[in-house]
Point group: C2
Chain length 433, copies 2
């Protein structure tokens, strides 16, 4: 083992950073054995050093800009988040030849090209396993284990807060507002839950997953995004009637057009999936991601998607890899955007819809409704009709069609005289058993 240590600058010392600092000290011997050299903290940048009496004062600094390019720093671990000034600090660090380990999904989903280029230019490493699905080893398998395969689809639950809320709505029948209140009270939702419930967090992760899976550049702006605020108790009840449940999924697909041209699609929205589907059983704050590849077939990864210790585990795994690369020479996998595939707009992405309607209880209504689907080129997979007092309920599940065609079908149906109410509209994934 080399005696000269690998020296680490830690940016941010909140829940995750605190765990990283603790484990770096407690597991020092183990980490050194695995990295091939001692791994030491060179400094910790925090906004208010006087607020951290638990940390060694000689390590603390408020001057992150200076710390990231300090002579004796080998690796920068960034756990602050946000775009600026973090982006500038990490670019400065990479340009100075420091390797970077970050959990910053927002930054990566917008600026990974710039960061990768800076890393390439100076021969530094850029690792970010903790940015998606917390402790679950997911990015390394995508980048490395499946490097000889052709990934066709990545689909998963990548946001714990929304999964907690939807699980609660499913099990208690509560509405969205009530379930969100409960999640906030128990600490599963932030004071400002926008990034989670409106799908921004999941969209950043979808951009990172799609980029790695398809070797092409996908940014957060390329991801179609719908959150869960519009999911109603009626939607959940409609799903139950079909033996399904509602999950917020990130779905990244390779799509082949009729002319054989390839493109990719990345989207985040609520989906009805069969209760027998493995993702349906993932409840509370857990994450799970399905990967489909030509040779490997179906794979699933499951574990804790957030939290101090789980995220710190992923950060330390990256830190050991980066340290080993410094000790032995060599570099981790680079960004691979060589495929350069276009991103298909949501309107052209094939999806399937579930539509639940209250209609006038008189003959011929189904025929009229079915005619609207047909006129829009949408094929119906299944219909259930049930009579009530003066109305009938009509539940329709479609085959795959371009999302825009489905959307305009639903628009038209909503305006029909015979349709009293559109009770629930939601995309579906997975076969019924």
């Amino acid at each position: 083992m080399r005696s000269e240590p690998i020296r680490v600058a830690l940016l941010g010392c909140g829940t995750v950073g605190g765990e990283v600092a603790r484990l770096l000290t407690e597991q020092a011997g183990e980490l050194a054995a695995r990295a091939g050299a001692p791994v030491e903290l060179a400094g910790i940048a925090v906004r208010r050093p006087d607020k951290h009496p638990e940390l060694p004062p000689e390590l603390l600094t408020a001057d992150a800009a200076k710390l990231v390019t300090a002579e004796d720093v080998d690796v920068v671990v960034e756990l602050i988040g946000g775009i600026e000034p973090t982006r500038t600090w990490l670019l400065d660090a990479l340009r100075a030849g420091k390797s970077v380990v970050t959990a910053n999904k927002a930054l990566l989903s917008e600026h990974s090209a710039e960061l990768s280029e800076a890393a390439d230019a100076s021969g530094a490493d850029l690792y970010f396993e903790a940015a998606v699905a917390g402790a679950i080893p997911l990015l390394r398998p995508l980048r490395e284990s499946l490097a000889g395969d052709r990934i066709t689809r990545v689909m998963g639950i990548v946001n714990g807060t929304t999964n907690y809320i939807l699980s609660a709505m499913d099990s208690t029948g509560a509405g969205y507002a009530e379930a969100l209140d409960e999640a906030s009270r128990l600490g599963y939702a932030e004071a400002d839950p926008t990034a989670d419930v409106d799908g921004y967090d999941a969209a950043s992760k979808a951009a990172i997953l799609a980029s790695l899976a398809f070797h092409t550049r996908v940014t957060a702006a390329d991801v179609h995004r719908e959150g869960i605020a519009a999911v109603t108790a009626s939607d959940i009840a409609a799903a139950k009637m079909l033996n399904r449940t509602v999950k917020l999924l990130a779905i990244c697909e390779r799509v082949t057009s009729e002319d054989g041209g390839e493109s990719v699609s990345a989207r985040v929205h609520p989906v009805m999936i069969p209760r027998a589907h493995q993702l349906a059983g993932v409840s509370g704050a857990f994450n799970a991601v399905y990967v489909e590849a030509d040779a490997a077939g179906e794979l699933m990864f499951y574990g804790q998607g957030a939290g101090g210790a789980p995220t710190a585990s992923a950060v330390l795994g990256d830190l050991v890899a980066v340290a080993r690369n410094r000790v032995l020479g060599g570099l981790g996998p680079r960004e691979s955007a060589h495929a350069g595939l276009p991103v298909r707009p949501m309107g052209q992405t094939p999806t399937r819809y579930h539509v639940s309607l209250d209609v006038a209880d008189r003959p011929g209504v189904l025929a009229q409704v079915a005619q609207v689907f047909a006129a829009n080129g949408v094929s119906i997979a299944a219909v259930r009709q049930r009579d009530r007092l003066s109305t009938a309920s009509l539940v329709i599940v479609t085959h795959l069609a371009p999302d825009a065609a489905l959307e305009s079908t639903v628009d038209e149906i909503g305006k029909m005289d015979v349709v009293r109410e559109v009770v629930s509209v939601m995309r579906v994934e997975g076969e019924d058993q």
Copy 2:
């Protein structure tokens, strides 16, 4: 990208080797982009070159010993299996500085020390993702993603043949012999199923998993091994009564003694697990492995554990990694046996038992049976008693106790006059709900 190719010697061209050869040709452009250089076949060693008209004749050779050390070979991909002469060929290749990618679990579980030392000495890579759980990216996460964490337990279904047979017994009520016949007929069991049904295959995998997870050396001989041939329809029925099912599990644990000393335990045997357990839902030829670590918490990996294409996916992922290391400089993770923990014998490993008895239907029997448990220091967690005509059925689940104490308890109970038949004895894992 480098123009000089990475040249690959392929040993064996059966189901997996054929897929690897096919993908190397079909995906040549993609693989080159990911590896940083073209990846080309330098030769294919097969026993009878004349039996392979589908392969380019100029690549075929029967002389594996010569191929593995040929001047123009950079990487050897071994898909022959068995110990000798494969061991000699791979040692020769590593000593000549060739990197090795292998799926040979039997060889690795007995000779990994020797192979690792040869790789270290010449600065070559040794990768073997395909040796455990086929296409599932499992070894790379253990070696790399979790390198900064402390793994406490690895538990999973790592043999598809036995899982298929046990799934069939569970769903049809068939006995072992009948289910095995069916599996053979459908191609899920080999003509000689010994390696699978007697647990040798799973034990090799357990040795590899324990070594990587605990950074210590565990060989196949260290693994306690029981196959599924003794699992009866009564065992399956007893499990059903408890809302459990029977799976053949590989279980690797870090065990801390009362004096604080650490050791590891590795075992393969049939286990009753609750039907609500995620591993209970893994049916047919699929594999799934749970990993528990201090910081990461619970993780699960799921996918196809065998088959030509899935295994080839894992081999190619390793091949790309090894090729990248050649192109960029650097080396993959080495064997890490630095922890040097002792392997705890099965008798001292804490387990829990389920025991189902037919006993004489008279007062005081439960007290007598309970007395035997107590005398052996085994604490009872739950008892169910049911009267039949002239006998009563007694079902006991214990708390954790050393396996040897449980075994001698069951021996003694079997000899009691009041016990008419020991209907089922099996270890249990997982909490009841």
